[in-house]
Structures are given as structure tokens and as C-alpha cells.
């Protein structure tokens, strides 16, 4: 039992469980799942489906942060990917066909590849600080997305395209399945091969790992490309869910949510230590928090205040100085407790 509490995922998982329970208390049918028209329905499924883009981006962000980097441009990549694919569908002669949808998805993924390669180039080859390198794309990205959409919200009607964000496959939403597939892929690649260890090595000390013969440049390049491709797929999900590309608001603040998910999950912002499972739990906590705010009848606008308090609390709990403080506080009352037992 004590070891269970010491596990680094213990706190995030307990926080998630507490949040879910809180919802169950206020809405008795919260945890129940039901089948309807061959689809699974329920608040839990909603949380997973609405959280899918954030989870996806947070997975990419985890690996970037593991190399001691940060990717602020994911929100802009979401906007660009959605804009590019929707603009393609809207302009194509046969907007409803499956081929058009497939090409549109490929365009989005390639956009992600290119933008990730660009970020990776700035960070690994030019040597710009990650926060600044990705700030460039964060600033210019929404402008590029607006350029693609011509400043309009581009609506599309293509059932195949709509399926990515709103479709079902074997009773489950497709967006959940895509996210799960990316998670398994990332987990297998980083935990079953040496890649994960290499990423951690680069995060702990990039210079030392280069001297040790690691191609740290390629690894850094890879994580930024992975992050941007994840963001592009999330952009597909978001635009497909509303069947429109909104260059201004698609993926707004999603980089903040993703970073938050990573931090809550227990990945250190200082690099070198990461947990993909923790990130998924972190993203669920954020999404559940949003749902809880609705459930409790608090105006949804207040979510941001809650998120701010959660970030601060988690960061404070993670900070070594705060931990030491807590430990000394814990240690102090112990003798008092013993006396009580003696009495």
C-alpha cells in the first residue's frame, strides 16, 4: 500500500478518481455507459472524445519536454492543418468523395511534418532556445492559417472527413481510437526500443550525449516533427468535429493545456524524465475538470481560473523547495502524534 502511494502516478490518478467521484455525486448517471444505435454513449466517452486532441498533442509535447524543449507552436499547427485540409476540400471539384478526404488528411499530415521539421531545424541546427524558436511559428502560424482560409471560416461537408472527429468504429469514437493508436505507437517506440533512453539522455545533458556519440540533433529533430504531426492530426479532429476550419480559434490555448497535461502527469519540465501514461492521465484530469465545471453549474468561463490554480498547485508540489518544506512540516508534528497514542 505504501509503495502504491510512492508511485509517481499515484497523485495524478487519485486526483482523477476524486474528480470523477465528485461528478458522480452531483450527477448519478455520470459514470454509467449505455449503448445506443450501436455506439457507446456516456460522460466518460464524452470526456475521452473531447479530450482526444489535447491528449494527442500532449503526447507529442511529452517527448519534446523530455529533451528539455517546449513546443509553443502546436496551437498554430492545429489551425494551419485544419485550414489546409478544409481549404483543399472546399476547393476540390468533388468535395464529398473519399479520395478528397484522404488527400486532405495527407495534406494536413505533411503540413505537420514540414512545420515540425522547421521547428526542429531552428532548435537543433541553429541552436535557438526552444521556447523562442517555436514562438516564431506561434506568432506567424495563425496568420498563415488565415492566409490559407482567406480570413473566412471554411465549412466543408464531407462525411468521410467528418468521421475523424465525429465518427464511430466498433462502437467507439474514431478520434479515441486514433489517439490510442498514437499512444501505443509512441509507447512501443520509446519503451521497447532504445529511443526513449536516448531522448532522456538528450534531455539530461545534450552536450554529454553528443560527446557520447548520440546523434542528439536527429533526436531533437524527430521529437519536434512528432509533436507537430500530432498537432496536425489533432487539427484534423477539431476541424472535422465542427466541419469547419477557424483560423482564429481552432486550437486556441491548446499548447497551454498540453503543457499542463504533461506537467500534471509528472514529467519534469527540466527534461530527462518523462511518462506517457502520466500525460494521458494529466490530459484526462484537465478534460474532467472542464466537465466538472459544467456539472457543478459554475459558468464555463471560470475554467481558466481553475486551470491556473491547478497549474500552480501542481508546479508547487513538484518544486523541490516546496517538497522539502512539506517534508519538514510532516516531520514536525510526528512526535506530537506519538504522544497522543501514548495517552
Amino acid at each position: 500500500m505504501k509503495d502504491l502511494f510512492k508511485h509517481r502516478l499515484a497523485w495524478p490518478v487519485m486526483a482523477l478518481a476524486a474528480l470523477l467521484l465528485l461528478n458522480q455525486v452531483f450527477r448519478p448517471d455520470f459514470l454509467s455507459l449505455r449503448m445506443q444505435d450501436g455506439h457507446l454513449y456516456g460522460s466518460l466517452i464524452d470526456i475521452m472524445r473531447n479530450g482526444a486532441p489535447t491528449i494527442l498533442i500532449a503526447l507529442g509535447m511529452t517527448l519534446v519536454i523530455a529533451t528539455r524543449g517546449i513546443d509553443l507552436s502546436v496551437g498554430a499547427v492545429v489551425a494551419i492543418a485544419g485550414a489546409a485540409s478544409c481549404a483543399y476540400i472546399a476547393a476540390s471539384p468533388d468535395p464529398g468523395s473519399p479520395v478528397t478526404a484522404a488527400v486532405a488528411m495527407l495534406i494536413a499530415v505533411f503540413a505537420g511534418l514540414a512545420l515540425g521539421a522547421w521547428n526542429g531545424f531552428l532548435v537543433s541546427t541553429i541552436g535557438v532556445q526552444p521556447i523562442i524558436a517555436t514562438l516564431v511559428l506561434m506568432t506567424a502560424g495563425r496568420g498563415i492559417a488565415q492566409l490559407i482560409t482567406g480570413g473566412q471560416i471554411v465549412s466543408v461537408s464531407n462525411d468521410h472527413y467528418k468521421a475523424i472527429g465525429a465518427g464511430y468504429f466498433f462502437t467507439l469514437p474514431i478520434s479515441i481510437l486514433i489517439t490510442a493508436a498514437v499512444f501505443v505507437l509512441a509507447a512501443v517506440l520509446t519503451r521497447r526500443t532504445a529511443l526513449g533512453t536516448l531522448i532522456e539522455a538528450v534531455g539530461i545533458n545534450p552536450v554529454a550525449s553528443r560527446l557520447a556519440g548520440l546523434r542528439s540533433r536527429n533526436i531533437i529533430w524527430t521529437v519536434y516533427i512528432f509533436s507537430a504531426v500530432c498537432a496536425a492530426v489533432a487539427g484534423l479532429m477539431i476541424s472535422s468535429n465542427v466541419t469547419a476550419a477557424d483560423a482564429n480559434n481552432a486550437g486556441l490555448y491548446i499548447e497551454m493545456d498540453a503543457i499542463l497535461a504533461v506537467v500534471i502527469g509528472g514529467t519534469s519540465l527540466a527534461g530527462g524524465r518523462y511518462t506517457l501514461v502520466g500525460t494521458v492521465v494529466g490530459a484526462f484530469i484537465i478534460q474532467t475538470l472542464t466537465t466538472t465545471v459544467y456539472t457543478l453549474g459554475i459558468p464555463p468561463e471560470v475554467t481558466l481560473v481553475f486551470k491556473a490554480l491547478v497549474v500552480l498547485t501542481v508546479c508547487l508540489l513538484q518544486a523541490p523547495k516546496a517538497r522539502n518544506l512539506l517534508r519538514s512540516l510532516k516531520a514536525a508534528p510526528k512526535p506530537a502524534a506519538k504522544e497522543k497514542v501514548a495517552v
Partner: protein, 338 residues
Amino acid sequence: MSTLSTLSQPSVKKPKPARNRLRGGARYAPTLSTVGLFLAMFAVGAAMYPSFLSGQVFLNLFIDNTFLIVLAVGMTFVILTGGIDLSVGAVVALSMMVSATLLQQGWNAGAVIVLVLMIGGGLGLLMGLIIQYFDIQPFIVTLAGMFLARGLCYVISLDSIPVTEGFFTGMAQAQIPLPGDLFVSPGVLLALAIVAIAFFVLHHTRFGRTVYAIGGNEHSAMLMGLAVTRTKVLVYALSGLCSAIAGILFSFYSLSGYSLAAQGMELDAIAAVVIGGTLLTGGTGYVLGSVVGVLVLGIVQTFIAYDGTLSSWWTKIVIGGLLLVFILLQRLFARKTG
């Protein structure tokens, strides 16, 4: 003590660790290239549009960007210490919301301004304390600050609140005449006064020297016995205070409070500072450079307004491009680290 007095001369920089020091005369190069860029853009504008070459077009750059100038001043201090403040845009919005709401309820303008300055400065101080005493990265703490301030805006109201109070509308309409039929707004004078104060503080006070020293090498600054902790906390408080002032100036300009106002303005402020030649690693840069940086951003906007064919979203792309160019310049000028 003689070394200290030479340090206070702006022309003689105090010794900084080699890793961030610019080579010889290259120290002014980033800022000078910004000035060159600004002059070139103004010349191109004058060549393309005859009416561009007027004193009022130049002064309008200040009038339309008073709030950004004040924000950039605060951000310069933060970035000089090697930190970053992502909360400034949200604090601007919060200041506007608070003042618009309280003025609507009939509060006195002076009291509102004092309260807003206290809120902004207090938020900054709080963030600085958390950054310093819990040793958490500035960007994550100020990110939380941004969430908090923006969330509080939404809590106050989702709608735009008009400002009809006499002092604010008076400030919005006031024009200070200058020779040659030119004019500026009172906000410009306030912004320039803040720039002057910041210039004095950075180059002629112990606090300013400490800011530079922290950015050069925090550990060395600590070993030198400088007040590193206090200075770093104060820098964030200062940035918060500047954001509050910018919020008031923005209220004068827009005469309303709106939760979504100043979205992304932190990026503009950071861009202005970087384009103005301040190194993001800290330790090198000038507050006057940041002002020129704001003017460059302003002239980009003026260009796009003059050229009717370009859409407004080109502004973001051009700013992103300029940011990139100056970051690459920084890499060229600064010695490679690590």
C-alpha cells in the same frame, strides 16, 4: 568604489561573462540594425506613398502603440534577467475590465487607476515570489498568471463594457499640439516618461546594474553579493505594474473593457523586445531598442493599412518573420553557448 562609478557610465559596460557578451563593437549591432530597418521601412513607405512622409504618420506610431511601448519596457527588464513574462496581455485585459466595471459603478477615476496599478503590480509581485522562492521556471508561472488573469476577466463579464467616465473620455480625446500642426495624445507623454525612467533606472542605478548582472550570469551576480533575489522578484512586479499602466492606456485608447482584448499582446511585446536587440538569454539589450522595436511593429501595421490590398493577417506573418530574422541575427552576434 571607483569601479562602481565607472560602471554607471553607459558607455563602459560592466564585465559580463564571456558566454553572453557580444564581441567588441557588435554590442550595439542588433539595436543599430533595428534602427536601420526602421529608417529603411520609413523610406520605402515614403517612396511608395507620398503621404507617408509626414510627421503625423510618425507620431501616430507612438499614439497607436502607447500601451505596447509601456509593456515592452516591463518586458525588457524581465528578459534582461533571462526570464520571460507571458501574462502581460492577460493583465492588460484584466486592468481594462476592472477599470471599465468600476467606472460603470460610479467609482472615482483616480481611485480606479490606483487600484488597477495595485492589482497589476501585486500579481507581478506574486508571480515573482513564486518564481524565485519555489524555483519554478518563469514561463510556467507566468503562464498560470495568464490563465488566472484571463479567467478573472471572464468572471467579471463576457461582454464589452463601454467607458463613459469623464476623465477617461477626456484623456481619449485630448490632443497635445506640437509645432507644425502636429499633435500627440497625453498617453504618449506618459509612455515616454516611463521609457525615460526605465532608461535611468537601467543605466544609472544599482538596481539596473543588478538586472544586467543577473542576465549575464546569475551565479556570479550572487557571488558578487548583489541582491539577486530581491531584484528578480521586483522585475516581475515591475512588469505587472507596466501591464496595468498599459491596460489603463489601452482603456484611454479604446474606451471599453473586453475580456478578449489584448489577446496575443504578450507576443507583440516579446517580439518588440527581441527585434529591439535584447538578447533572450539575458544580460544584453537596451530599453530604447525595445521602443524602436515597437515602432518597427507599428510601421508594419501602417504599411498594411496604407497598402489596401494586403490583409491584416499579413501583420502576424511579417512580425513572425522579423522575429525570426532577429533571432538568427542574435545567434550570429552572440557566441555559441554550450
